[in-house]
Structures are given as C-alpha cells and as structure tokens.
C-alpha cells in the first residue's frame, strides 16, 4: 500500500477557522499539522488544534443507528431507523400540527448540513422551530 498524504481542511474546534492538515497514512488519520501558509494561523495552532484528530477513532463513536426498546438501546438498520423517524414525525405532525415539532441544528456541522436541516424543518415539517446552541 504505502500511501501518505495530508488533507487540507479547517479545524472543528473554536471559531477561529484555523487551517490544518490531517495526516493520512494508508487511509488512517495519524496526526494533525498546522497549515503553514494559512491566512489566519500562519502555521500556529492551539493544543486543541494539534490534537483535533484524536477523537475521531474513539471507541465511543456511534457506528450504527440505535433504537430504544424497553429503556435499552438496540442496534438497527438504517432503513428501519429512517422509517421509524419519518413515520413518527408524520404522525405527530398530523396529530398535533407542524409546530409541535422542533429541531436543534448544529454549530458543529457544516454549512451544507445546516442548510439542509433548516430546509427540512421548514419545507417538509412545516415549522420555523429551528434553533441551535449559539446562545449557550
């Protein structure tokens, strides 16, 4: 195999928007480097930035959808999970109206994901009950 590359991207911790390089050895992230010629950071990072890769492979990462049955989580397939979420949301929407549903979008997610989330809440669910933790 033998492949090593660095991927130019943006740090996911605070709002400074630091340029980082994720070091990928044979398809696995092994480290982070500062982007030396980034407009904001000019090659500097804080301790969070230098270690931003460390949580990625944590064993606590969720890898399959979970459904709670009798107070306990059990793994399920995507098909079933999506089906269940959609059906339940449709039912609640019909029964109590769209404003009985609300959503928290995320300061952790990308712009694209935030756009899709609010579009879904507004256009599909039919409510403006969208907010996120910016206030917190």
């Amino acid at each position: 195999m033998l492949s090593y590359e660095t991927i130019l991207t943006t740090c996911t911790y605070c709002g400074c928007g630091c340029g980082i390089l994720l070091e990928v050895l044979d398809g696995r992230i092994i480290g982070t480097l500062p982007q030396k010629d980034h407009t904001i950071t000019q090659g500097g990072l804080c301790i969070k930035g230098w270690n931003v890769h460390q949580f990625i492979y944590d064993q606590g990462r969720l890898k399959r959808p979970l459904v709670k049955r009798d107070g306990k989580f059990t793994e399920t397939t995507w098909e079933e999970a999506i089906e269940e979420v959609a059906t339940k949301l449709n039912r609640i929407k019909e029964e109590y109206g769209p404003d009985s549903i609300c959503g928290l979008t995320s300061a952790r997610c990308t712009n694209e994901e935030n756009y899709i989330f609010q579009k879904w809440m507004r256009a599909v669910i039919g409510t403006n009950n969208v907010d996120h933790c910016a206030r917190l």
Partner: protein, 531 residues
C-alpha cells in the same frame, strides 16, 4: 466580527472584555499580542485576571453583570471631555441626543460605585479608546450571556459609533464566536425567525422566493428559540424534538430541568457522533460523522467561508448529517432533497442567499472568502459598515443599566461565573476523549480567591459543595488570585460537576441567551464521615 482576525494586528487600541482570548480563541489572542508589540494600548475589562490581562496596559475588574454601567460611564466621560468623533456622529449616525440624555445619569462617581472600576481607571480607558486612530473592541460570551446581553452589545456599538471606531480596517466591534461553525449555523438560517442570510420568515417576498425554490408552503410565523422550545415541551405543546449534533444536557442552564423536560417528549431523535448525555435520553439515535469524514464548508468568526475536506471514509455505517436528513425528508414524501454532492447543496444555498451569492467551491478552493460576497467579481468583505451601515445610518440606543437577575445575599453570598478553559471544548464530547487534552484537564474545579478560602477554612484541592437556588454540585477547589473576592469561577465543560446545575435560566428578553455569567451561590465544606 465586523473586522478580520489579521486586521486586529494593526489596531492601536484594543479593548477586550468578556473574552478569555488566549484560552478560548488563541489565534485571535495571537494577533492582539502582536498589536501590543507594535505599540497598541491593550485594555482588558474582566472579572477574572485572564492570561491576556497580564499583558494589558490597563486591566480592571468590573462587578459581575455591570457592563452597561461602565460602557455608559466611558461614554459619559468621552462626551464631557469632547473626545467624541463629531464628524462620524453627524454624517453616519442618528439618535445622539437621546443617548446624551441617558448618559447624563452615569457620572464617574456613580459608575465607580456600581461597577467597582475606579474613576481614574474609567478616565484612562475612555481616553485611550477615544483618542486611538483605530480602536477595536473584542468580546465573547462574557458580554452576551447575561439578561442584559443585548443591552451590553448595543452599548458597545454605541461606544464604537460615538468615537467613529467602526467601518474601517482594524477598527470595529468584534464578537468572537465560541464554536467552529456558529457563524455558519446562523448564516444558514438555523434560527427561528430567519431563512439563510438573515432573511426574515415574516417577509412575504422572501417567503415566496423560498416557497418557489423549495416547492413547499412555508410558515410565516417565527418559530421557537431553544429556551422557548423547552418551555413549550413543558407545557405539552411540543411533542417531538430532533437534535443534530448538539448536547444541551451539558450546555444548557439548569440541567436538572432540561433532563426532566426532554423526558416528557413523545419523540426525541438525536443525531451525533457519540452517545452524549443528550443522546442517552433519545428514543432513536442516528450516527453522524466527524469533520474528517465529510466535504463541506465552515464559516469562521470573521465571516470567512472555508472548505472542509474529507480525509477518510465514514466509520462503520455512520453517515454525514445532511445525508441522514435528506433520507428522512425523502421518506417523509418530499422529492426536493436529491443532491449529488455537497457542492450542489452549497450552490442551491448561495442562489437563495444574497450575502453568499458570489461564493463558489471553486473560488474558495485555495483560501476562504469573507461574506458579504454578492457576485462572482466581489472579493468578499474584510470589514463591515465601510461607507454606511446595513440600515443606512447607525442608530444610538440609550440603554439604562439593569441589575443581574440574581444578586448575592446572605444565603448565597458568592458570585458565580462560568466559562471555558483552553484544554477542553464545550461539552467535552470531543476533547474529553482526546488523550492529550484530557490529560491536561481531567476534572472540573471551582476557582476561588485564597483569602475567601482561608475565611471558609477551605484548602487547595479540597472537595466542596457549591450550592445555588437550583442545585448542588461537589467539586474540587483551585485557589487563585485570578478571581477577586466573593466570587468563584467554574468551567462549564464537565458533566460530572456541571456548572450548569447551578446557573440561572433567566434569559435576555431579546436574544433569549441565558444568564450563564452571573448567579449567586454559597460554598460549604463537606463534612468528613467518621471512619
């Protein structure tokens, strides 16, 4: 931010307040220190002696929650001395007379009494800020997380306009956003009253534009804010909640209440990369992916739209958050959620969002662009309000000082304020599982003044009870002169000793931001049980 991070370096006076910049925004602090090295005057106004305060030419502590008073006090002095920028005021602002009237109520003696900042210091600060060529204000949650958060922000804007320190390079009012894409989440319409690009949901023309594009009937009624959502769940009006990548179980005020509330829901769906405290309460948990497993963009605190690139494939069966939402939307019977790529989503968004209109993936391939960027020729906007404010003239709003929602008394004699530390991040979902970070800051602590500790017979490292009207936590002490007398500080990151068990849910009436930065507590020794 009205300005760019690199621009700060050229400011000749920087006023930092309510921001522990070196710990929470290190790469902004880096520019502040460079400005200082180039001769800028650095002013830090904070209840805690933060790291950046060590480098301040003037450092003062205000009493918690008295920001409007000192800002009004500064403006009072500036007007008395004639240091205001008369040209800027007459050309670009309105409402100065009303402001002047209100400011008469803030003579230095009175402000000193309210804020604890001495008259002499107030004068020095007013002079340094007003007489600077390019002065910048930097603030963070220490200004906004108050019931007077909006008042504080408006007051800072008043101060900047009064001295003409806005609308030019290296000079403006710069809120620092706490999370990597808070700016983007707001820009994208992750708010109850606006579509992407801060376009009001109540504006008929705008709503029609979105209806046409999304091929759906849209509500003209502004939605609920996060605090209102919890209230409506309590009242039984909201039945289902969908949470994408947030952990209100650590980040919200009054946690016991949040847990109680979330448990009332008929349906709670949480989408996250970890089984967070919030996810544990969910009926269904869907696995999202980390930033390293997807393509997209983040918008940093200085409005810079930058690329996020995929380094590895998603772990297990996890999926990017937008993919999951698109699947649900389609399953709910909507067919306008088909996208080949993240770029296609971005293109749809920019078409509908004037401030992002000129940005494309191609244009930000190399470096980011700062919005507003309205067309393909527009290089973006390093600083805002150059020739005019978005609404034309800038309006001065007279702001009277109001006390915090909770003040200390005999039963709860200590002020509590909360904040971040540099080694942890928010609810620790990510930093808590990062060995290099966790090693530096394993557990929460309450920082208190050694003199107070002596009075209470408390020693360094001793576990104590911190009690507020809302709850009790047990936590280790850390003695430090960084906090003043009769005041304690607790980092809010730790679920095990969560500061937000104690904090007050009183919110700012406009921004709905809770008053995390001020509440009243008492400290108690934990009686050792006899062996």
């Amino acid at each position: 931010m009205t300005n760019s991070i690199p621009e700060l370096e050229e400011s000749d006076c920087i006023l930092v307040t309510g921001s522990n910049t070196t710990e929470a925004h290190p790469l902004v602090a880096s520019r502040i220190l460079r400005a200082k090295q180039k001769g800028a005057t650095l002013i830090v106004i904070d209840p805690r002696r933060t790291q950046i305060a060590r480098y301040a030419d003037i450092f003062v502590r205000q009493k918690l929650g008295t920001d409007v008073a000192w800002i009004n006090g500064l403006m009072h002095i500036i007007l008395k001395e004639g240091w205001e920028n008369k040209e800027f005021i007459s050309k670009r602002t309105e409402g100065i007379e009303e402001l002047k009237k209100e400011l008469e109520n803030y003579p230095p003696e009175k402000v000193e009494e309210i804020t604890g900042i001495s008259r002499a210091d107030l004068r020095r600060i007013a002079e340094a800020y007003a007489k600077a060529k390019n002065a910048s204000i930097i603030y963070a949650m220490g200004i906004t997380q108050h019931i007077t958060g909006t008042d504080n922000v408006i007051s800072l804007a008043n101060l900047a306009m009064l001295t003409g320190n806005i609308g030019k390079a290296s000079s403006g009012v710069n809120p620092l956003r706490g999370q990597n894409n808070v700016q983007g989440a707001c820009d994208m319409g992750g708010l109850p009253d606006v579509y992407p690009g801060y376009q009001s949901v109540t504006n008929e023309t705008i709503a029609k534009k979105f209806e046409e594009s999304w091929n759906a009937k849209l509500s003209r009624k502004p939605g609920l804010t996060i605090m209102e959502m919890f209230q409506s769940i309590e009242e039984g009006k909201v039945k289902a909640m969908y949470i994408m990548g947030e952990n209100p179980m650590v980040s919200d005020p009054d946690l016991k209440h949040v847990e109680h509330t979330l448990k009332k829901l008929e349906l709670l769906v949480v989408q996250d990369i970890f089984l967070t405290e919030t996810a544990k309460l969910a009926h269904i948990v869907l696995p999202g992916v980390s930033f390293a497993e997807k393509e997209g963009t983040f918008t940093s605190t200085d409005r810079r739209v930058q690329r996020v690139r995929k380094a590895i494939e998603p772990l297990g069966e996890a999926k990017a958050d937008h993919e999951i939402i698109c699947k649900i939307a389609k399953r709910m019977g909507n067919d306008s959620f088909n996208y080949d790529s993240e770029e296609k989503i971005f293109e749809e968004m920019t078409r509908l969002t004037p401030i992002y209109h000129g940005i494309t993936y191609e244009r930000i391939e190399k470096d980011g662009i700062q919005w507003p960027c309205t067309n393909s020729e527009d290089p973006g906007t390093p600083f805002l309000h150059k020739d005019q404010f978005s609404k034309g003239k800038g309006t001065f709003f007279p702001i009277p000082y109001r006390e915090p929602a909770e003040i200390v008394d005999e039963e709860f004699p200590f002020w509590l304020t909360t904040g971040r530390i540099g080694f942890q991040y928010h609810s620790r979902t990510m930093s808590g599982v990062s060995p290099s970070l966790q090693k530096e800051a394993k557990e929460g602590y309450v920082e208190m003044n050694p003199f107070d500790a002596i009075q209470l017979g408390i020693e360094e490292g001793e576990k104590v009870k911190v009690i507020s009207r809302r709850g009790t936590i047990e936590i280790k002490t850390k003695l430090s002169f960084n906090v003043g007398r009769n005041m304690v500080f607790i980092p809010f990151h730790y679920f095990e000793s969560a500061a937000n068990v104690l904090t007050n849910t009183a919110v700012d009436p406009i921004s709905k931001i809770p008053e995390f930065k001020v509440c009243a507590v008492r400290l108690e020794k934990i009686e050792e049980e006899n062996p």
